[in-house]
């Protein structure tokens, strides 16, 4: 799922400085699960900004709302009146939600309150880690279910590199070396022979290098 992290309060304060009536709009899906922009975080951010605003002698107002998914027109339209009534919408959704708002409400100032960080999961409660780079050309079938694109600092297709030390990555000694993980798992699966084959370069045009991507399902179109 999409993981995000709230921006520093100072940055948010600066963004909202020109606006008096601010709607803090949470999203009830990915960012809720990543503890960044759900209804609870909306409450905490609203309270923080009220405190900050009062401290600075401003008379800003902060309305609060959370929709099920900000990346769907239907859900954001459910709070259309609140959006229209605000000088700016401070979105706590991922970048998709922010853009969906901006697209749906072309005249409205929409500001991001979180940094959309990665696609990942919680390995333990409160600890979120990256697992996928959405490269558009999945090779997990070749790498024993461990992604070297998302989890190797160098995105190596043929690893490990010389920086793999005792199973850790030279870039960050807290990080597991993805290629060590791949090696270990291939061994467990009895597929170590796969490492003898050099992986050819990936088709990066399916990644961002090919420009913004689009999926069209002709069979589903209305």
């Amino acid at each position: 799922m999409i993981k995000a992290k709230q921006k520093p309060i100072a940055e948010i304060k600066e963004m909202i400085a020109p606006y008096k009536k601010v709607l803090i709009l949470g999203c009830g899906t990915c960012v809720t699960i990543s503890f960044a922009g759900g209804e609870k975080e909306v409450g905490l951010l609203a309270s923080s900004l009220r405190i900050a605003s009062t401290m600075e002698g401003q008379d800003k107002t902060f309305a609060e709302a959370t929709v099920q998914r900000q990346c769907e027109w239907e859900f954001i339209d459910a709070v259309a009146d609140q959006i229209k009534g605000a000088d700016a919408v401070l979105s706590m959704a991922c970048g998709i939600g922010v853009q969906a708002l901006a697209e749906r409400y072309p005249d409205k100032v929409v500001l991001p309150a979180v940094n959309t960080t990665f696609l990942g999961m919680a390995v333990e409660h409160g600890v979120l880690v990256e697992r996928c780079r959405a490269c558009g050309d999945c090779i997990l079938g070749l790498t024993a279910g461990v992604c070297p694109i998302a989890r190797c600092a160098k995105n190596l297709l043929n690893g490990p590199c010389g920086g793999s030390q005792k199973g850790k990555c030279e870039v960050n000694p807290e990080l597991d070396c993805a290629w060590q993980l791949i090696y270990d798992r291939l061994g467990r699966l009895g597929q170590l022979d796969r490492l003898a084959k050099i992986m050819v370069p990936k088709d990066w045009s399916k990644d961002y290098d090919g420009g913004p991507r689009k999926i069209v399902r002709e069979d589903l179109k209305l």
Binding site: P8, I9, A10, G28, T29, T32, I33, F35, G38, E39, K40, E41, G43, L44, S47, S48, R50, I51, A52, T54, M55, H125
Partner: protein, 697 residues
């Protein structure tokens, strides 16, 4: 039916076993929780609402609630009865006996109640509140029935009865005492539109044994009555043997001891484990020196020259009573023996005196010679005549009679308004399921508070009350043992996104997923509140407190903390530990006026938002007081509270208000008094920082 605020409608969800077991369905969970929070007046209000005799029940109720208490699966039941007593002792009677209960406009129709025992008093109370003119007749000189003439004084001081009866008189109920009703039809002819027969069960009975009619062979109820009414019966030097093993037999034995008997023994058919008296009553009697002889049947009162010498007994293996009432047992050969005594008191049961019922049989009796009623409505076979209590059940608990009184009052009201009484009775509540072993294994065992009692050697010489009641600290500790069954978390499935936070944080492993959303099984939840405080979707609410209530409390606390010229400090204090026990009052007294505390049951319930809200509303400093690591009632509520405090401290720094204004104190109940010092340090620090720039006053 809005005027029936004293007969509250029960919630439809499954209720805790204590509430279901109470015949009056008292909100036990509610009042125990209120005591745990330190809100004693609310506890009294809840205990009083369905029960016009809470002072009496707090002392002598047989408390079927405790028998069903689910904490028994962990260690011992919560001391519910003693807590009710505590709530009544703390209640300020100047606020009225029944705070919040209304009285309806006067209605047409006079009602006669025959018998001023618990059933009669309850029906009278309810009907008077509904607006009816009620007259209560009683054969004794004071109201109370068996409470007045049966229950020994050392269990129920008669002033307690006065406390309950006085407000009934204030309700306008007319009491006509020293009047034995002998003609039910005459009452109806006299203008009473309905009659409630609650005459109790005041006749003792003897077995037909040789010499049973000697002068020194007495009857249980007659003996208790004489003693209760203050007759000076001198038993000094006497050897008393009581035949019977029930609660009344125990009362007889303990009264005999107090009247100076040299030796008091009880003997009964039942074995030690089958003895019908409550175990705690048996224990008290044994403590006082009453001897028990089990497994015996009685053959003869042995007498010499008209003087009782003992009772000839044979040992038996009693298995219970057969449907026809005969004991199911075998006598052991060659076990005949005489238990010596010079006074024998039969305590083998009791029956109502129904000689006053109409001779035409219009008020029918059961084969057991009790009044026959429809158990749903308490209606007898005669229209307009209702009955309840021991006269119907033979012998029951006080709280059974109270419940019957409520039913009868509803029925009489319906009858007088021309409605079928069967249609106005509330359905029986549904009971929560049992605790699962997994849940039980996570609940911290907590020792049951012993009821302070009069010293045994003093007890035997006086009719002074034996139970002395809990201190505040004891009551709070006792109330903290409640598992708050069924009042825990509920999930708004429209908001839940199955993030699994609740599943992961619950210290009791209760939540799970059902059809894609979180589910907190109501019968397992321990109401610790961690899931609600951690839920990122705010999809979980707790039954006994809400965010709205808490924010209101924070607002009040901040307002009261201000205006003292000192920094306004708001504290969230855990009643389980940091702010529990003996020292809660002491600390509260020591905390200056600028420090206001909001009591919570576990610091894990203190949502991060509450901390920010306190600052948003103008607090200069905020603290959370929880217990020491490893000592949390809910295992790790304090850990989560600490993490939240650390997180909000970070935010406060970011905002520029400063993290030094927020602190978490961890302390054990024993260190409770240290809190004043810790708060003092925080206050000094906040003073240095100056008033919160958020304050606008």
């Amino acid at each position: 039916m809005s005027e029936k605020s004293d007969l509250p409608t029960l919630p439809k969800e499954p209720l805790p076993p204590c509430v279901v077991a109470c015949p009056a369905h008292t909100d036990v969970r509610g009042y125990v929780n209120a005591i745990a929070r330190g809100d004693f007046e609310e506890a009294y209000r809840l205990a009083r609402e369905p029960n016009p005799l809470p002072y009496i029940c707090g002392k002598v109720c047989a408390h079927p609630c405790e028998t069903e208490c689910r904490r028994s699966n962990v260690d011992e039941p919560v001391a519910i009865c003693a807590l009710k007593r505590f709530a009544t002792e703390r209640h300020d009677l100047r606020k009225g006996h029944a705070p919040g209960l209304s009285v309806a406009e006067p209605k047409e129709g006079r009602v006669a109640i025959v018998g001023a025992g618990p059933g009669g008093l309850t029906a009278a109370h309810d009907l008077a509140r509904m607006g009816y003119k009620v007259t209560v007749f009683d054969a004794n000189s004071k109201p109370g029935g068996m409470l007045q003439v049966g229950i020994p004084l050392y269990r129920l001081p008669r002033e307690t009865i006065e406390i309950e009866v006085a407000p009934l008189k204030e309700l306008g109920i007319e009491f006509i005492t020293d009047r034995r009703i002998t003609n039910v039809d005459a009452l109806l002819a006299d203008g009473y539109k309905a009659v409630f027969l609650a005459v109790g069960s005041h006749l003792g009975r003897k077995l037909r044994l040789p010499n049973a009619d000697l002068p020194h062979v007495w009857l249980n109820l007659e003996f208790l009555r004489r003693a209760a009414l203050g007759e000076k019966i001198d038993l000094s030097g006497r050897h008393v043997l009581i035949l019977g093993g029930g609660n009344v037999a125990i009362d007889v034995a303990r009264v005999a001891l107090r009247l100076g008997a040299a030796e008091v023994a009880m003997t009964c058919l039942e074995s030690c484990t089958m003895q019908p008296a409550h175990p705690w009553e048996i224990a008290e009697a044994l403590d006082e020196g009453v001897q028990m002889f089990h497994d015996r049947t009685f053959k003869e009162i042995v007498a010499e020259n008209g003087k009782v010498k003992g009772v000839r007994c044979v040992k038996v293996n009693f298995r219970g009573f057969l449907p026809d009432g005969r004991p199911d047992m075998d006598e052991f050969p060659e076990t005949e023996h005489v238990l010596p005594a010079d006074l024998v008191i039969f305590a083998i049961g009791q029956a109502p005196d129904l000689s006053f019922l109409p001779q035409d049989g219009s008020v029918a009796q059961t084969p057991r010679r009790t009044i026959q009623v429809d158990p749903r409505t308490q209606a007898t076979t005669k229209p307009g005549v209702f009955a309840g209590g021991d006269a119907v059940t033979g012998v029951g608990f006080i709280i059974d009679a109270i419940a019957a009184g409520h039913r009868a009052a509803r029925s009489i009201d319906a009858y007088l308004r021309g409605i079928d009484p069967a249609t106005v009775q509330p359905p029986e509540p549904e009971k929560l399921d049992d605790l699962q072993q997994k849940t039980i294994s996570h609940v911290r065992p907590l020792k049951r508070e012993e009821m302070p009692k009069l010293q045994v050697k003093v007890r035997k010489t006086t009719f002074e009350e034996v139970d002395l009641g809990y201190t505040e600290a004891q009551a709070i500790r006792a109330a903290h043992r409640c598992l708050t069954c069924g009042a825990g978390a509920s999930v708004n499935t429209d908001k839940c996104i199955a993030c699994l936070t609740c599943v992961r944080v619950c210290p009791y492993e209760v939540p799970g997923l059902v059809r894609g959303t979180a589910n907190v099984p109501v019968d397992q939840c321990q109401a610790c509140g961690l899931c609600a405080a951690e839920c990122p979707a705010r999809a979980i609410t707790m039954k006994l407190y809400s965010d709205e209530d808490m924010i209101k409390e924070i607002r009040n606390a901040v307002r009261r903390a201000k205006g003292n010229g000192e920094p306004a400090i708001v504290g969230f204090t855990c009643r389980y530990c940091a702010y529990a026990g003996e020292d809660a009052d002491v600390v509260r007294a020591r905390l200056p006026k600028n420090v206001r505390t909001i009591d919570v049951l576990c610091s894990g319930k203190v949502d991060a938002l509450y901390l920010l809200k306190a600052f948003e509303l103008g607090a200069d400093g905020v603290f959370v007081a929880g217990c020491l690591d490893g000592e949390c009632h809910n295992h790790k509520g304090n850990v989560h509270a600490g993490q939240r405090v650390a997180h909000i401290k970070g935010l406060l720094d970011e905002i520029g208000l400063g993290s030094a204004r927020l602190e978490m104190f961890k302390m054990s109940p024993a260190q409770c008094a240290d809190m004043a010092a810790a708060v003092g340090t925080l206050t000094a620090k906040v003073k240095e920082l100056g008033p919160s720039p958020v304050r606008r006053d």
